[in-house]
């Protein structure tokens, strides 16, 4: 069955994420960060940051509310049960710190088929409360047996 490519270019509702200090600390501990700017407010301030600093890969946390819905969009006819995460790219702008409010908009960048696999590429653009782009994500999901 060929993949349905009609949704290429579709953009979804922006999702807002309020970055909490304890959430950053929880994430930083789970990924084994040892740099105290991710764990300790005094250390972060002493290093010149406004608050506890989100590790760059915390982008997966603040982007999540925006990148979830496209995967489950019935218009894509994406067989979620056969999906694997094939690749990921992030491009970062200014750092995110606790207290920031991040708005992320997701879109369908590409849908294609190769060797019986469907390639679904989503893009997320995240901006902070000052309108600065803090992250652009490219999420490549591969669906086997299309």
């Amino acid at each position: 069955m060929p993949v349905n490519t009609k949704a290429i270019g579709k953009t979804y509702e922006p999702a807002l994420y309020a970055v909490g200090r304890e959430k950053i600390r929880e994430y930083a501990r789970a990924v084994g960060e040892t740099n105290p700017v991710h764990l300790d407010l005094d250390a972060a301030r002493a290093a010149g940051y406004a608050d506890v600093v989100a590790p760059p890969m915390f982008a997966v946390v603040y982007s999540a509310p925006a990148v979830g819905p496209p995967i489950f969009d019935p218009e894509l006819e994406l067989n979620f049960t056969m999906m694997v995460h094939g690749g990921q790219e992030f491009e970062w702008g200014p750092l995110v710190v606790a207290g920031d409010e991040i708005t992320t908009t997701a879109s369908v960048k590409d849908i294609s088929e190769r060797d019986g696999r469907g390639y679904y590429v989503f893009e997320s653009i995240s901006t902070n409360q000052r309108g600065e782009q803090v992250c652009r994500g490219t999420w490549t999901n591969i669906v086997r047996g299309v």
Partner: protein, 129 residues
């Protein structure tokens, strides 16, 4: 900052995810896909057992870059391909080599391996010097 000249290796990151790491990462990230946290479910869908979150492993690749560069804001871009699957309670080794340095940016080629299998390959990082 580590020595970031073309051809130099960045310091390795070695980490052994403990038995409960995938549960902690699920809570921290919000990704509760049962293939990561439910042994029976994972086996029922043909996996050897619970597998690591690819994005946790990518975070180890990112950590190798920010530790080499000396600060989180120096990591400007990171692109990875996920291959195979990572398993709890086995050491993950992240190693990278600076491919080129130009215009104040270093490009670092990186892999994450577990028991000799590459679970992240062709990772490309861009660091501000």
């Amino acid at each position: 900052m580590a020595n970031l000249e073309a051809g130099s290796k960045i310091p390795e990151v070695r980490v052994t995810p403990d038995k409960y790491l995938t549960a902690r990462y699920a809570g921290a990230s919000g990704d509760f896909n049962p293939i990561h946290i439910d042994e029976e479910f994972a086996r029922a869908v043909g996996l050897p057992g619970r597998i690591l979150h690819g994005l946790w492993t990518m975070a180890q690749v990112a950590r190798a870059q920010t530790e080499a560069a000396g600060a989180p804001e120096r990591l400007k871009r990171l692109k990875v391909q996920f291959r195979g699957m990572g398993l709890p309670e086995q050491e993950v080794v992240v190693s990278g080599t600076v491919r080129e340095v130009a215009d104040g940016r270093a490009i670092v080629d990186t892999v994450a391996e577990q028991s000799g299998n590459q679970i992240i390959r062709n990772a490309e990082a861009e660091l501000a010097l």
